[in-house]
């Protein structure tokens, strides 16, 4: 029974952490898709969507970093996690700033940054979910 209690307490924090990462991944992915839509249609509204999706993604990545710091302090986490997350944050941040440019001035850099952000967010989420399983039986 002791092991159940142990699993539940850190498990809640882990699940929250996982949710922020999964959400960020989804938002980065849709931002990339809307960037692609603007790229192929010149329809500016897609670019506006991308800007806001990136803001949402950045909020979730920021929360995920805070979770990761707590996890790191508690121990048992690889430092790779936070490195990947911080890299995601930086790329996402410059992607968000870059989307502040007017009209086609965001292209093609916005598309490139969004691809990198999605890849990094995917790796960060993968690593975290992998450790979530490990953490569950700890």
């Amino acid at each position: 029974m002791v092991s159940t209690v142990d699993r539940l307490r850190p498990g809640g924090a882990h699940l929250f952490h996982a949710a922020t990462l999964a959400g960020a991944l989804a938002l980065f992915l849709v931002a990339l898709l809307t960037d692609w839509a603007y790229w192929s249609s010149y329809e500016i509204q897609w670019s506006n969507f991308a800007s806001w999706l990136l803001v949402g993604a950045m909020v979730l990545v920021s929360v995920a970093i805070i979770c990761e710091i707590f996890a790191l302090v508690r121990g048992g986490r690889s430092v790779v996690h936070i490195v990947v997350l911080v890299a995601t944050w930086l790329v996402g941040f410059f992607d968000a700033l870059h989307h502040g440019r007017d009209a086609w001035a965001i292209m093609p850099t916005a598309l490139v940054l969004s691809v990198i952000a999605v890849v990094l967010a995917f790796v960060a989420t993968w690593l975290s979910f992998a450790s979530l399983r490990a953490g569950g039986v700890r």
């Binding site: 500016i44 509204q45 941040f93 968000a96 870059h98 440019r101 007017d102 009209a103």
Partner: protein, 457 residues
């Protein structure tokens, strides 16, 4: 405050931002062929917003031999003025625009830019100023008409006063000496007003009074609200004063903020605010005579055939057709007022145009925040602009005022609207200023007032 945007951004990018905040080289971009650097933009757009500071009894600085006085204060955002034939001055007051914030950038930049503007409520009215005894003090300040919608352009044709609201052109009956409108305004025609990113509707009347020229600004900096938002924008309309019917007179003028008819040649001139966010020395705002049917580049190109790659899809045919404007005023100076001078302005300021420069937000170091004089010879600009009214910024980088509309009183005075301190400034040749005390103001001017050419005898 330097680079206000720093306040709202995490420190992680500070190093990059500092690079973006480095001071731009000053480039003399005046006249017919200004130097144009390559387009550039840092991670952040340059934003320098100076905090407002009070005048504290001081006045703007004019050249030696000229006197400056505040003839009206506490207005509701004065923009353009019109000197009436009897010497009364009409002031259009208000703030327009209802552009939605589309991107996170709009939310952040909007908050920052608001710090550099007045927080006073939009007047939405015309105020009349009168100096009955000609002593240079405008003792009467009264509301001529109110409940207007961000009035801006003003023109008098005979006994009809035309006012360009942000969404419609209206007409009042006017009799000399009148201090209140005799009735509600009559609509002449609707004007393009969807979004109204650039909301001001500048106005001038053709010398014969048959036509009114209405300047309509673009609905974006550079098409970032989509091409469909730009239908009927960035152009000048020629409106038939009798019927309200219009035709397109000229296009591709990004934000034509003031119009004037040149005395003698009867040519239409405009000052135009050009695009932002491709560097501190791009693109020069300009003063130009306006050719009927002419295309001046926006959005596809600037200063002739310089392609703006931010516009997609591009249009090489339009780029090729773009007319090079007559006279560059410098990048980001934000020219919002233009008026042809009269010999009564005296000295070297008798032949040329005055240009009110509201001042930059997208440049470091800031530029504008003054009234300049562009000398003319043989009806064309000739030589660099001369500072005529300065001192709108304090030495410690605060802003006391921001010039907008300028009008020339044919009796020998420049009238300048200041929409930050909500003041009307009057600049007169000092020697001539003594004269009106002995000579009562003439009932009609001998020279045409630039904003109301047809009101001349």
């Amino acid at each position: 405050m330097k680079c206000s945007s720093l306040n709202v951004l995490p420190l992680a990018a500070a190093a990059m931002l500092l690079a973006a905040c480095s001071k731009a080289p000053d480039l003399d971009q005046y006249g017919a062929s200004p130097k144009l650097p390559e387009p550039s933009r840092g991670v952040m757009p340059d934003m320098i917003i100076a905090k407002p500071a009070p005048w504290d009894g001081q006045v703007p600085i004019a050249p030696q031999g000229y006197t400056v006085s505040a003839i009206a204060t506490d207005l509701g955002i004065p923009r353009q003025t019109l000197v009436l034939p009897n010497g009364d001055i009409l002031v259009a007051e208000g703030r327009g625009g209802h552009a939605p914030k589309l991107k996170p950038k709009d939310v952040i930049a909007g908050k920052i830019k608001a710090k550099g503007n007045t927080s006073v409520k939009s007047g939405n009215r015309l105020t009349l100023l009168r100096d009955a005894d000609g002593d240079g003090k405008y003792e009467l300040k009264t509301v001529f008409a109110d409940h207007l919608d961000a009035p801006y352009g003003l023109a008098l044709v005979g006994n009809k006063l035309y006012v360009a609201n942000q969404g419609e052109l209206v007409r009042f009956d006017y009799q000399p000496g009148q201090t209140h409108a005799s009735g509600a305004p009559v609509k002449v025609t609707d004007l393009p007003s969807a979004i109204n990113h650039h909301w001001t509707k500048a106005l001038a009347a053709s010398p014969d009074g048959r036509y009114l020229y209405v300047a309509i600004g673009s609905n974006s900096n550079i098409t970032e609200r989509g091409m469909s938002a730009e239908v009927d924008r960035a152009r000048i309309w020629q409106v038939d004063a009798a019927t309200g019917a219009h035709k397109v007179y000229a296009t591709g003028l990004r934000n034509p903020t003031a119009l004037a008819i040149q005395p003698g040649t009867d040519t239409l001139w405009a000052v135009v605010n050009e695009r932002d966010e491709i560097g501190p020395n791009l693109v020069p705002d300009y003063l130009t005579s306006v050719r009927e049917g002419g295309f001046y580049g926006w959005p596809y190109a600037y200063w002739g055939q310089h392609v703006d790659t931010r516009v997609m899809p591009q249009d090489p045919a339009k780029v090729a057709a773009a007319i090079v404007p007559d006279y560059a005023l410098g990048s980001h100076v934000a020219a919002l007022g233009v008026a042809f001078s009269a010999p009564t302005m005296g000295g070297q300021f008798g032949d040329g145009v005055f240009v009110g420069e509201h001042g930059s937000w997208n440049r470091n170091p800031p530029v504008g925040y003054k009234v300049v004089f562009v000398p003319f010879r043989n009806g064309r600009p000739s030589g660099d602009p001369i500072d005529f009214l300065t001192g709108f910024r304090t030495k410690d980088g605060k802003t006391r005022g921001r010039p907008v509309g300028v009008s020339v009183d044919p009796r020998g005075a420049l009238i300048v609207a200041d929409d930050l301190s909500n003041t009307i400034w009057r600049v007169t040749p000092t020697t001539a200023a003594a004269a009106p005390a002995t000579t009562p103001p003439a009932p009609a001017a001998s020279a045409p007032a630039p904003a109301a050419p047809s009101s001349a005898p």
